[in-house]
Amino acid sequence: MARMKLRGRVIRRGHAEGEALVSQQAMSFFGGVDPESGVIVEAGHELEGEFISGKILVFPQGKGSTLGSYTLYRLRRNDLAPAAIINAQSEAIVAVGAIIADIPMVDRLDISQIRTGDEVTIEDDLVEVNRLDSPA
Protein backbone atom coordinates (compact mmCIF):
# COMPACT_ATOMS: atom_id res chain seq x y z
CA MET A 1 0.00 0.00 0.00
CA ALA A 2 1.43 3.35 -1.07
CA ARG A 3 1.02 6.25 1.30
CA MET A 4 1.64 9.89 0.49
CA LYS A 5 1.27 13.15 2.36
CA LEU A 6 0.46 16.40 0.57
CA ARG A 7 0.09 19.84 2.03
CA GLY A 8 -2.18 22.50 0.52
CA ARG A 9 -3.86 25.73 1.49
CA VAL A 10 -7.01 25.66 3.59
CA ILE A 11 -10.11 27.22 2.05
CA ARG A 12 -12.48 25.64 4.59
CA ARG A 13 -11.07 23.96 7.67
CA GLY A 14 -12.17 20.52 8.69
CA HIS A 15 -11.64 16.78 8.85
CA ALA A 16 -12.84 14.38 6.19
CA GLU A 17 -12.19 10.86 5.00
CA GLY A 18 -13.35 9.16 1.86
CA GLU A 19 -12.66 7.70 -1.54
CA ALA A 20 -11.22 10.08 -4.12
CA LEU A 21 -13.18 10.93 -7.26
CA VAL A 22 -10.78 12.72 -9.57
CA SER A 23 -11.27 14.76 -12.72
CA GLN A 24 -8.76 16.75 -14.74
CA GLN A 25 -11.62 18.93 -16.03
CA ALA A 26 -13.07 22.05 -14.39
CA MET A 27 -16.50 21.55 -12.82
CA SER A 28 -19.71 23.55 -12.91
CA PHE A 29 -22.08 22.77 -10.04
CA PHE A 30 -25.02 24.89 -11.28
CA GLY A 31 -26.50 22.75 -14.03
CA GLY A 32 -23.55 20.38 -13.78
CA VAL A 33 -24.51 18.46 -10.63
CA ASP A 34 -28.05 17.40 -9.74
CA PRO A 35 -28.56 18.53 -6.12
CA GLU A 36 -31.44 16.08 -5.67
CA SER A 37 -29.41 12.98 -6.57
CA GLY A 38 -25.74 13.93 -6.10
CA VAL A 39 -24.94 12.83 -9.65
CA ILE A 40 -22.79 14.76 -12.13
CA VAL A 41 -25.02 15.55 -15.10
CA GLU A 42 -22.89 17.90 -17.21
CA ALA A 43 -23.07 16.46 -20.74
CA GLY A 44 -19.65 15.35 -21.95
CA HIS A 45 -17.90 15.81 -18.60
CA GLU A 46 -15.46 12.99 -17.91
CA LEU A 47 -17.27 12.30 -14.62
CA GLU A 48 -20.77 12.46 -16.12
CA GLY A 49 -22.99 9.96 -14.30
CA GLU A 50 -20.70 9.68 -11.25
CA PHE A 51 -22.10 10.00 -7.73
CA ILE A 52 -20.20 12.63 -5.71
CA SER A 53 -21.82 12.20 -2.31
CA GLY A 54 -19.35 11.29 0.46
CA LYS A 55 -16.45 11.37 -1.99
CA ILE A 56 -13.28 13.41 -1.78
CA LEU A 57 -13.93 15.37 -4.96
CA VAL A 58 -10.73 16.39 -6.75
CA PHE A 59 -10.68 18.71 -9.79
CA PRO A 60 -8.59 21.64 -11.03
CA GLN A 61 -11.09 24.44 -10.39
CA GLY A 62 -14.71 25.54 -10.63
CA LYS A 63 -16.40 27.14 -13.61
CA GLY A 64 -19.84 28.35 -14.69
CA SER A 65 -22.54 30.28 -12.87
CA THR A 66 -22.01 31.69 -9.39
CA LEU A 67 -25.32 30.01 -8.52
CA GLY A 68 -23.17 26.87 -8.21
CA SER A 69 -22.37 27.94 -4.64
CA TYR A 70 -26.03 27.36 -3.80
CA THR A 71 -25.97 23.93 -5.47
CA LEU A 72 -23.28 22.85 -3.00
CA TYR A 73 -25.43 24.15 -0.14
CA ARG A 74 -28.43 22.24 -1.46
CA LEU A 75 -26.36 19.04 -1.72
CA ARG A 76 -25.45 19.45 1.95
CA ARG A 77 -29.08 19.99 2.96
CA ASN A 78 -29.98 16.81 1.08
CA ASP A 79 -27.13 14.87 2.76
CA LEU A 80 -25.59 14.42 -0.68
CA ALA A 81 -22.54 16.70 -0.41
CA PRO A 82 -19.01 15.50 -1.15
CA ALA A 83 -17.01 14.74 2.02
CA ALA A 84 -14.39 17.28 0.93
CA ILE A 85 -13.15 19.20 -2.10
CA ILE A 86 -9.59 19.46 -3.35
CA ASN A 87 -8.78 21.95 -6.13
CA ALA A 88 -5.54 22.79 -7.87
CA GLN A 89 -6.48 26.46 -7.72
CA SER A 90 -9.60 27.63 -5.94
CA GLU A 91 -11.95 30.26 -7.36
CA ALA A 92 -14.91 32.08 -5.87
CA ILE A 93 -17.83 29.83 -6.88
CA VAL A 94 -16.68 26.58 -5.29
CA ALA A 95 -14.91 28.33 -2.39
CA VAL A 96 -18.05 30.21 -1.38
CA GLY A 97 -20.08 27.04 -1.84
CA ALA A 98 -17.73 25.08 0.43
CA ILE A 99 -17.96 27.77 3.11
CA ILE A 100 -21.74 28.05 3.13
CA ALA A 101 -22.15 24.26 2.95
CA ASP A 102 -19.46 23.48 5.58
CA ILE A 103 -17.48 21.25 3.23
CA PRO A 104 -13.76 20.97 4.07
CA MET A 105 -11.74 22.34 1.16
CA VAL A 106 -8.05 22.54 0.28
CA ASP A 107 -6.28 23.94 -2.78
CA ARG A 108 -2.79 24.57 -4.14
CA LEU A 109 -1.51 21.04 -4.22
CA ASP A 110 -0.53 18.69 -7.03
CA ILE A 111 -3.83 16.98 -7.82
CA SER A 112 -2.17 14.69 -10.40
CA GLN A 113 -0.83 12.75 -7.39
CA ILE A 114 -4.36 11.61 -6.52
CA ARG A 115 -6.29 8.93 -8.44
CA THR A 116 -9.92 7.93 -8.38
CA GLY A 117 -10.34 5.18 -5.78
CA ASP A 118 -7.52 6.35 -3.48
CA GLU A 119 -8.44 6.52 0.19
CA VAL A 120 -7.94 10.14 1.26
CA THR A 121 -7.90 11.72 4.71
CA ILE A 122 -7.96 15.49 5.13
CA GLU A 123 -7.09 17.36 8.31
CA ASP A 124 -7.19 21.10 7.59
CA ASP A 125 -4.29 21.68 5.15
CA LEU A 126 -2.88 18.14 5.36
CA VAL A 127 -3.98 15.58 2.78
CA GLU A 128 -3.02 11.92 3.22
CA VAL A 129 -3.44 9.63 0.24
CA ASN A 130 -3.50 5.83 0.54
CA ARG A 131 -3.41 3.73 -2.59
CA LEU A 132 -4.51 0.16 -1.96
CA ASP A 133 -3.17 -1.54 -5.07
CA SER A 134 -0.40 0.26 -6.88
CA PRO A 135 -0.44 -0.69 -10.55
CA ALA A 136 2.84 -1.99 -11.89
Binding site: R9, I11, R12, P35, S65, T66, L67, S69, Y70, T71, Y73, R74, R77, S90, E91, A92, I93, A95, V96, I99, I100, D107
Partner: protein
Protein backbone atom coordinates in the same frame (compact mmCIF):
# COMPACT_ATOMS: atom_id res chain seq x y z
CA UNK B 1 -3.86 39.39 4.59
CA UNK B 2 -4.24 42.07 7.22
CA UNK B 3 -7.51 42.16 9.16
CA UNK B 4 -8.44 44.97 11.55
CA UNK B 5 -9.50 44.18 15.12
CA UNK B 6 -13.13 44.72 14.15
CA UNK B 7 -12.82 42.38 11.17
CA UNK B 8 -11.12 39.76 13.34
CA UNK B 9 -13.98 40.03 15.83
CA UNK B 10 -16.50 39.39 13.06
CA UNK B 11 -14.51 36.34 11.95
CA UNK B 12 -14.38 34.96 15.49
CA UNK B 13 -18.15 34.98 15.76
CA UNK B 14 -18.45 37.78 18.31
CA UNK B 15 -21.18 39.40 16.20
CA UNK B 16 -23.11 36.19 15.74
CA UNK B 17 -23.12 33.31 13.23
CA UNK B 18 -24.57 35.31 10.32
CA UNK B 19 -21.80 37.93 10.40
CA UNK B 20 -19.21 35.23 11.02
CA UNK B 21 -20.26 33.32 7.91
CA UNK B 22 -20.24 36.53 5.87
CA UNK B 23 -16.75 37.43 7.07
CA UNK B 24 -15.54 33.89 6.37
CA UNK B 25 -16.62 34.36 2.75
CA UNK B 26 -15.06 37.82 2.40
CA UNK B 27 -11.81 36.76 4.08
CA UNK B 28 -11.55 33.51 2.10
CA UNK B 29 -11.88 35.41 -1.18
CA UNK B 30 -9.20 37.80 0.03
CA UNK B 31 -6.86 34.87 0.72
CA UNK B 32 -7.63 33.13 -2.58
CA UNK B 33 -6.98 36.26 -4.63
CA UNK B 34 -4.08 37.44 -2.42
CA UNK B 35 -5.56 40.72 -1.23
CA UNK B 36 -3.52 42.66 1.31
CA UNK B 37 -6.56 43.99 3.12
CA UNK B 38 -10.31 44.54 3.06
CA UNK B 39 -11.86 47.86 2.00
CA UNK B 40 -15.23 49.38 2.97
CA UNK B 41 -17.88 49.28 0.24
CA UNK B 42 -20.24 52.14 -0.60
CA UNK B 43 -23.00 49.90 -1.96
CA UNK B 44 -23.88 46.36 -2.98
CA UNK B 45 -25.94 44.87 -5.81
CA UNK B 46 -27.13 41.31 -5.14
CA UNK B 47 -27.86 38.81 -7.92
CA UNK B 48 -29.58 35.46 -7.44
CA UNK B 49 -33.21 36.49 -7.13
CA UNK B 50 -35.34 34.73 -9.72
CA UNK B 51 -36.73 31.52 -8.26
CA UNK B 52 -36.17 29.75 -11.57
CA UNK B 53 -32.43 30.17 -11.18
CA UNK B 54 -32.12 29.97 -7.39
CA UNK B 55 -34.39 26.99 -6.92
CA UNK B 56 -34.92 25.47 -3.49
CA UNK B 57 -31.15 25.51 -2.93
CA UNK B 58 -30.88 29.26 -2.95
CA UNK B 59 -34.15 29.84 -1.15
CA UNK B 60 -33.10 27.48 1.67
CA UNK B 61 -29.82 29.28 2.10
CA UNK B 62 -31.29 32.78 2.08
CA UNK B 63 -33.93 31.82 4.65
CA UNK B 64 -31.34 30.24 6.91
CA UNK B 65 -29.00 33.24 6.72
CA UNK B 66 -31.84 35.68 7.34
CA UNK B 67 -33.02 33.49 10.22
CA UNK B 68 -29.55 33.65 11.79
CA UNK B 69 -29.93 37.43 11.87
CA UNK B 70 -28.05 38.47 8.71
CA UNK B 71 -28.63 42.19 8.05
CA UNK B 72 -27.01 44.42 5.44
CA UNK B 73 -25.06 47.43 6.71
CA UNK B 74 -24.65 49.37 3.44
CA UNK B 75 -27.22 50.38 0.77
CA UNK B 76 -28.01 47.13 -1.03
CA UNK B 77 -30.12 46.77 -4.16
CA UNK B 78 -31.51 43.61 -5.71
CA UNK B 79 -31.39 42.01 -9.16
CA UNK B 80 -34.56 41.24 -11.15
CA UNK B 81 -36.95 38.53 -10.03
CA UNK B 82 -38.52 35.96 -12.35
CA UNK B 83 -41.76 37.93 -12.51
CA UNK B 84 -43.46 41.29 -12.00
CA UNK B 85 -44.06 41.26 -8.24
CA UNK B 86 -47.43 42.97 -8.60
CA UNK B 87 -48.83 41.90 -11.97
CA UNK B 88 -47.54 38.30 -12.02
CA UNK B 89 -50.91 36.57 -11.94
CA UNK B 90 -52.35 38.50 -14.87
CA UNK B 91 -49.13 37.87 -16.83
CA UNK B 92 -49.73 34.13 -16.54
CA UNK B 93 -47.12 33.15 -13.95
CA UNK B 94 -48.12 29.83 -12.30
CA UNK B 95 -49.29 30.09 -8.68
CA UNK B 96 -46.63 27.82 -7.19
CA UNK B 97 -43.76 29.61 -8.89
CA UNK B 98 -45.20 32.96 -7.82
CA UNK B 99 -45.45 31.97 -4.18
CA UNK B 100 -41.88 30.63 -4.08
CA UNK B 101 -40.64 33.80 -5.76
CA UNK B 102 -42.35 35.90 -3.09
CA UNK B 103 -40.64 33.81 -0.38
CA UNK B 104 -37.26 34.65 -1.94
CA UNK B 105 -38.17 38.33 -1.86
CA UNK B 106 -39.25 38.06 1.80
CA UNK B 107 -35.89 36.56 2.78
CA UNK B 108 -34.07 39.48 1.16
CA UNK B 109 -36.45 41.97 2.72
CA UNK B 110 -35.76 40.46 6.16
CA UNK B 111 -32.05 41.12 5.59
CA UNK B 112 -32.72 44.79 4.86
CA UNK B 113 -32.11 44.57 1.11
CA UNK B 114 -34.00 47.13 -0.97
CA UNK B 115 -36.53 45.28 -3.16
CA UNK B 116 -35.43 47.24 -6.24
CA UNK B 117 -35.45 44.16 -8.51
CA UNK B 118 -33.45 45.60 -11.36
CA UNK B 119 -30.24 44.85 -13.24
CA UNK B 120 -29.82 48.62 -13.76
CA UNK B 121 -29.56 49.88 -10.15
CA UNK B 122 -27.62 52.87 -11.48
CA UNK B 123 -30.83 54.07 -13.17
CA UNK B 124 -32.87 53.50 -10.02
CA UNK B 125 -31.16 55.16 -7.08
CA UNK B 126 -27.99 53.11 -6.49
CA UNK B 127 -25.43 55.19 -8.41
CA UNK B 128 -21.88 54.93 -7.05
CA UNK B 129 -19.36 57.69 -7.64
CA UNK B 130 -16.02 57.74 -9.43
CA UNK B 131 -13.36 55.74 -7.61
CA UNK B 132 -15.73 54.32 -4.97
CA UNK B 133 -15.29 50.70 -3.91
CA UNK B 134 -18.48 48.68 -4.29
CA UNK B 135 -19.34 44.97 -4.34
CA UNK B 136 -21.75 44.25 -7.13
CA UNK B 137 -22.97 41.09 -8.77
CA UNK B 138 -24.93 41.06 -12.07
CA UNK B 139 -22.33 41.17 -14.79
CA UNK B 140 -23.95 43.96 -16.84
CA UNK B 141 -24.26 46.24 -13.80
CA UNK B 142 -20.66 45.47 -12.84
CA UNK B 143 -19.55 46.47 -16.32
CA UNK B 144 -21.53 49.72 -16.24
CA UNK B 145 -20.40 50.69 -12.72
CA UNK B 146 -16.73 50.09 -13.53
CA UNK B 147 -16.66 51.46 -17.05
CA UNK B 148 -19.21 54.27 -17.24
CA UNK B 149 -19.25 55.44 -13.61
CA UNK B 150 -15.61 54.69 -12.78
CA UNK B 151 -16.54 52.89 -9.55
CA UNK B 152 -14.56 49.79 -8.60
CA UNK B 153 -15.94 46.29 -8.30
CA UNK B 154 -15.07 42.74 -9.20
CA UNK B 155 -17.71 40.42 -10.63
CA UNK B 156 -19.19 39.20 -7.39
CA UNK B 157 -21.48 36.20 -7.13
CA UNK B 158 -24.78 36.47 -5.26
CA UNK B 159 -23.53 35.05 -1.94
CA UNK B 160 -20.23 36.96 -1.98
CA UNK B 161 -22.03 40.26 -2.72
CA UNK B 162 -24.42 39.56 0.14
CA UNK B 163 -21.45 38.76 2.40
CA UNK B 164 -19.97 42.16 1.50
CA UNK B 165 -23.29 43.82 2.33
CA UNK B 166 -23.44 42.11 5.75
CA UNK B 167 -19.83 42.94 6.67
CA UNK B 168 -19.67 46.26 4.80
CA UNK B 169 -16.39 45.16 3.26
CA UNK B 170 -14.81 43.44 0.31
CA UNK B 171 -11.32 42.13 -0.35
CA UNK B 172 -9.09 44.56 -2.21
CA UNK B 173 -7.97 42.65 -5.30
CA UNK B 174 -8.66 42.62 -9.03
CA UNK B 175 -10.47 45.70 -10.31
CA UNK B 176 -10.28 47.45 -6.94
CA UNK B 177 -6.61 48.08 -7.77
CA UNK B 178 -5.71 50.75 -10.32
CA UNK B 179 -2.98 48.62 -11.92
CA UNK B 180 -5.57 46.04 -13.00
CA UNK B 181 -7.79 48.59 -14.75
CA UNK B 182 -5.42 49.14 -17.66
CA UNK B 183 -6.52 47.90 -21.11
CA UNK B 184 -4.53 45.32 -23.07
CA UNK B 185 -6.75 45.09 -26.15
CA UNK B 186 -7.33 47.98 -28.56
CA UNK B 187 -10.57 47.53 -30.50
CA UNK B 188 -10.69 49.72 -33.59
CA UNK B 189 -14.28 49.85 -34.83
CA UNK B 190 -14.42 51.08 -38.43
CA UNK B 191 -18.04 50.23 -39.23
CA UNK B 192 -20.92 52.50 -38.32
CA UNK B 193 -22.86 51.84 -35.12
CA UNK B 194 -26.42 52.98 -35.76
CA UNK B 195 -28.57 51.37 -33.08
CA UNK B 196 -28.55 49.79 -29.65
CA UNK B 197 -28.55 46.36 -31.25
CA UNK B 198 -25.41 47.36 -33.20
CA UNK B 199 -23.65 48.14 -29.93
CA UNK B 200 -25.01 44.88 -28.53
CA UNK B 201 -23.76 42.84 -31.51
CA UNK B 202 -20.36 44.55 -31.28
CA UNK B 203 -20.18 43.71 -27.58
CA UNK B 204 -21.04 40.09 -28.26
CA UNK B 205 -18.19 39.81 -30.77
CA UNK B 206 -15.60 41.58 -28.62
CA UNK B 207 -16.55 39.62 -25.48
CA UNK B 208 -15.73 36.40 -27.32
CA UNK B 209 -12.41 37.71 -28.63
CA UNK B 210 -11.19 39.50 -25.49
CA UNK B 211 -10.36 36.44 -23.32
CA UNK B 212 -8.84 38.03 -20.22
CA UNK B 213 -7.77 41.23 -21.97
CA UNK B 214 -9.55 44.42 -20.98
CA UNK B 215 -10.81 46.24 -24.09
CA UNK B 216 -10.17 49.85 -25.09
CA UNK B 217 -12.46 51.02 -27.88
CA UNK B 218 -11.81 53.53 -30.60
CA UNK B 219 -15.07 54.21 -32.39
CA UNK B 220 -14.76 55.79 -35.82
CA UNK B 221 -18.48 56.43 -36.20
CA UNK B 222 -19.34 60.04 -35.53
CA UNK B 223 -22.10 59.40 -33.04
CA UNK B 224 -20.88 59.55 -29.45
CA UNK B 225 -22.36 56.66 -27.45
CA UNK B 226 -24.59 57.66 -24.56
CA UNK B 227 -25.63 55.80 -21.43
CA UNK B 228 -27.94 53.35 -23.24
CA UNK B 229 -25.36 52.45 -25.89
CA UNK B 230 -22.64 51.87 -23.27
CA UNK B 231 -25.07 49.78 -21.22
CA UNK B 232 -25.82 47.59 -24.26
CA UNK B 233 -22.14 47.25 -25.19
CA UNK B 234 -21.02 46.32 -21.69
CA UNK B 235 -23.87 43.89 -21.04
CA UNK B 236 -23.07 42.00 -24.23
CA UNK B 237 -19.35 41.69 -23.46
CA UNK B 238 -20.09 40.53 -19.93
CA UNK B 239 -22.40 37.81 -21.26
CA UNK B 240 -20.34 36.44 -24.15
CA UNK B 241 -17.06 36.91 -22.29
CA UNK B 242 -15.92 37.84 -18.80
CA UNK B 243 -15.38 41.54 -19.49
CA UNK B 244 -16.04 43.50 -16.30
CA UNK B 245 -14.46 46.80 -17.40
CA UNK B 246 -13.93 48.50 -20.74
CA UNK B 247 -12.82 51.92 -21.86
CA UNK B 248 -14.03 54.02 -24.79
CA UNK B 249 -11.53 56.64 -25.89
CA UNK B 250 -12.75 60.13 -25.12
CA UNK B 251 -16.00 58.83 -23.64
CA UNK B 252 -15.69 56.74 -20.47
CA UNK B 253 -14.21 58.56 -17.44
CA UNK B 254 -10.92 56.73 -17.03
CA UNK B 255 -10.25 56.92 -20.79
CA UNK B 256 -10.90 60.65 -20.76
CA UNK B 257 -8.57 61.71 -18.00
CA UNK B 258 -6.10 58.91 -17.40
CA UNK B 259 -3.73 56.82 -19.47
CA UNK B 260 -5.48 53.46 -19.33
CA UNK B 261 -3.79 51.71 -22.24
CA UNK B 262 -0.94 49.26 -21.63
CA UNK B 263 2.22 49.68 -23.71
CA UNK B 264 2.04 46.08 -24.88
CA UNK B 265 -1.65 46.19 -25.87
CA UNK B 266 -2.58 44.19 -28.95
CA UNK B 267 -5.02 45.53 -31.52
CA UNK B 268 -8.02 44.15 -33.39
CA UNK B 269 -10.23 45.80 -36.00
CA UNK B 270 -13.98 45.32 -36.31
CA UNK B 271 -15.13 46.16 -39.85
CA UNK B 272 -18.53 44.49 -39.80
CA UNK B 273 -21.12 43.39 -37.24
CA UNK B 274 -22.43 40.49 -39.37
CA UNK B 275 -20.63 37.90 -37.24
CA UNK B 276 -22.43 39.13 -34.11
CA UNK B 277 -25.86 39.23 -35.70
CA UNK B 278 -25.45 35.86 -37.40
CA UNK B 279 -24.27 34.11 -34.24
CA UNK B 280 -27.38 35.06 -32.29
CA UNK B 281 -30.21 35.30 -34.80
CA UNK B 282 -32.19 32.10 -35.35
CA UNK B 283 -34.57 31.04 -38.09
CA UNK B 284 -37.93 30.97 -36.33
CA UNK B 285 -40.61 32.80 -38.31
CA UNK B 286 -43.37 32.88 -35.68
CA UNK B 287 -42.77 35.15 -32.71
CA UNK B 288 -44.70 34.63 -29.43
CA UNK B 289 -43.06 37.42 -27.50
CA UNK B 290 -40.91 40.45 -28.26
CA UNK B 291 -38.63 41.40 -25.37
CA UNK B 292 -37.11 44.87 -25.01
CA UNK B 293 -35.20 45.79 -21.88
CA UNK B 294 -32.18 43.55 -21.33
CA UNK B 295 -30.59 45.10 -19.34
CA UNK B 296 -33.68 46.84 -17.93
CA UNK B 297 -34.93 49.63 -20.17
CA UNK B 298 -34.16 53.25 -19.45
CA UNK B 299 -36.82 55.95 -19.78
CA UNK B 300 -35.48 56.74 -23.26
CA UNK B 301 -35.71 53.10 -24.38
CA UNK B 302 -39.34 52.89 -23.23
CA UNK B 303 -40.08 56.09 -25.15
CA UNK B 304 -38.32 54.82 -28.28
CA UNK B 305 -40.35 51.63 -28.13
CA UNK B 306 -43.58 53.65 -27.90
CA UNK B 307 -42.41 55.83 -30.80
CA UNK B 308 -41.58 52.79 -32.91
CA UNK B 309 -45.01 51.27 -32.21
CA UNK B 310 -46.68 54.52 -33.22
CA UNK B 311 -50.12 53.28 -32.23
CA UNK B 312 -49.94 50.05 -34.27
CA UNK B 313 -51.78 47.10 -32.71
CA UNK B 314 -49.80 44.02 -31.72
CA UNK B 315 -50.23 40.50 -32.97
CA UNK B 316 -47.77 38.87 -30.52
CA UNK B 317 -46.91 39.84 -26.97
CA UNK B 318 -44.51 42.73 -26.43
CA UNK B 319 -42.90 43.21 -23.04
CA UNK B 320 -40.58 46.03 -22.08
CA UNK B 321 -38.84 45.00 -18.85
CA UNK B 322 -37.65 47.75 -16.53
CA UNK B 323 -37.21 48.71 -12.90
CA UNK B 324 -40.26 49.74 -10.89
CA UNK B 325 -38.57 53.09 -10.33
CA UNK B 326 -38.21 53.84 -14.06
CA UNK B 327 -41.71 52.42 -14.69
CA UNK B 328 -43.31 54.97 -12.39
CA UNK B 329 -41.56 57.85 -14.16
CA UNK B 330 -42.44 56.44 -17.58
CA UNK B 331 -46.09 56.25 -16.47
CA UNK B 332 -46.03 59.94 -15.60
CA UNK B 333 -44.44 60.79 -18.93
CA UNK B 334 -47.11 58.88 -20.86
CA UNK B 335 -44.93 56.38 -22.73
CA UNK B 336 -46.39 53.45 -20.77
CA UNK B 337 -49.93 54.39 -21.82
CA UNK B 338 -48.83 54.54 -25.46
CA UNK B 339 -47.38 51.02 -25.26
CA UNK B 340 -50.45 49.69 -23.42
CA UNK B 341 -52.70 51.29 -26.05
CA UNK B 342 -51.04 49.02 -28.62
CA UNK B 343 -51.64 46.02 -26.30
CA UNK B 344 -48.00 45.88 -25.17
CA UNK B 345 -46.83 45.69 -21.55
CA UNK B 346 -44.21 47.45 -19.50
CA UNK B 347 -43.21 44.83 -16.94
CA UNK B 348 -41.42 45.81 -13.74
CA UNK B 349 -39.05 43.77 -11.52
CA UNK B 350 -38.63 40.93 -13.95
CA UNK B 351 -36.08 39.22 -16.15
CA UNK B 352 -37.12 36.60 -18.70
CA UNK B 353 -34.11 34.46 -17.81
CA UNK B 354 -35.37 32.50 -14.82
CA UNK B 355 -39.03 33.21 -15.63
CA UNK B 356 -41.33 30.21 -16.20
CA UNK B 357 -41.53 30.78 -19.99
CA UNK B 358 -42.61 27.26 -20.94
CA UNK B 359 -45.44 27.23 -18.40
CA UNK B 360 -46.51 30.56 -19.87
CA UNK B 361 -46.69 29.06 -23.35
CA UNK B 362 -43.82 31.07 -24.81
CA UNK B 363 -41.65 29.16 -27.27
CA UNK B 364 -40.16 31.90 -29.48
CA UNK B 365 -38.80 35.27 -28.44
CA UNK B 366 -37.36 38.20 -30.41
CA UNK B 367 -35.10 40.76 -28.74
CA UNK B 368 -32.72 43.62 -29.57
CA UNK B 369 -30.32 42.50 -26.83
CA UNK B 370 -27.49 40.10 -27.61
CA UNK B 371 -27.23 39.29 -23.90
CA UNK B 372 -30.91 38.43 -23.83
CA UNK B 373 -30.59 36.34 -26.99
CA UNK B 374 -27.51 34.55 -25.66
CA UNK B 375 -29.08 33.52 -22.34
CA UNK B 376 -32.48 32.72 -23.82
CA UNK B 377 -30.68 30.22 -26.03
CA UNK B 378 -28.48 28.67 -23.37
CA UNK B 379 -30.87 28.73 -20.40
CA UNK B 380 -34.45 28.44 -21.64
CA UNK B 381 -34.52 26.48 -24.88
CA UNK B 382 -36.89 28.92 -26.60
CA UNK B 383 -36.29 29.87 -30.24
CA UNK B 384 -34.64 33.28 -30.57
CA UNK B 385 -34.47 36.11 -33.10
CA UNK B 386 -32.05 38.99 -32.61
CA UNK B 387 -32.38 42.28 -34.44
CA UNK B 388 -32.92 46.01 -34.15
CA UNK B 389 -35.70 47.65 -32.14
CA UNK B 390 -37.45 48.47 -35.43
CA UNK B 391 -37.37 44.81 -36.54
CA UNK B 392 -38.49 43.60 -33.12
CA UNK B 393 -41.45 45.98 -32.93
CA UNK B 394 -42.36 45.16 -36.51
CA UNK B 395 -42.33 41.46 -35.59
CA UNK B 396 -44.63 42.15 -32.64
CA UNK B 397 -47.21 43.83 -34.90
CA UNK B 398 -47.29 40.88 -37.33
CA UNK B 399 -46.49 37.94 -35.03
CA UNK B 400 -43.80 37.06 -37.56
CA UNK B 401 -40.19 38.03 -38.01
CA UNK B 402 -39.89 40.52 -40.91
CA UNK B 403 -38.67 38.83 -44.10
Amino acid sequence: MHLSDEERAMLSGREGPAVQKAMEIVAALGEIYEAERLVPVASVQVAGVSYGNLGEAGLDFLREWAGQGARVVVPTSLNPAGMDLEAWRELGVPEQYGQRQLEVIEAYRAMGVSISCSCTPYLAGNTPGFGQHIAWSESSAVSYANSVLGARTNREGGPSALAAAITGRTAEYGLHLEKNRVAHLIVEVTCALNSLSDFSALGYMVGRKAADRLPYFRLDSGLEPGSDELKALGAAMAASGAVALFHVEGVTPEARDLHMLADDAISITIESLDEGYEALDGTSQDIDLVWIGCPHASLAEIEHTADELHGRQLDSKLWVTTSRDVLSTARLEGSVDRIVASAGRVVADACLIGAPLHEMGITSVATNSSKGAFYLRSHTGVRVRFGSLAECVDAATRGRWPA
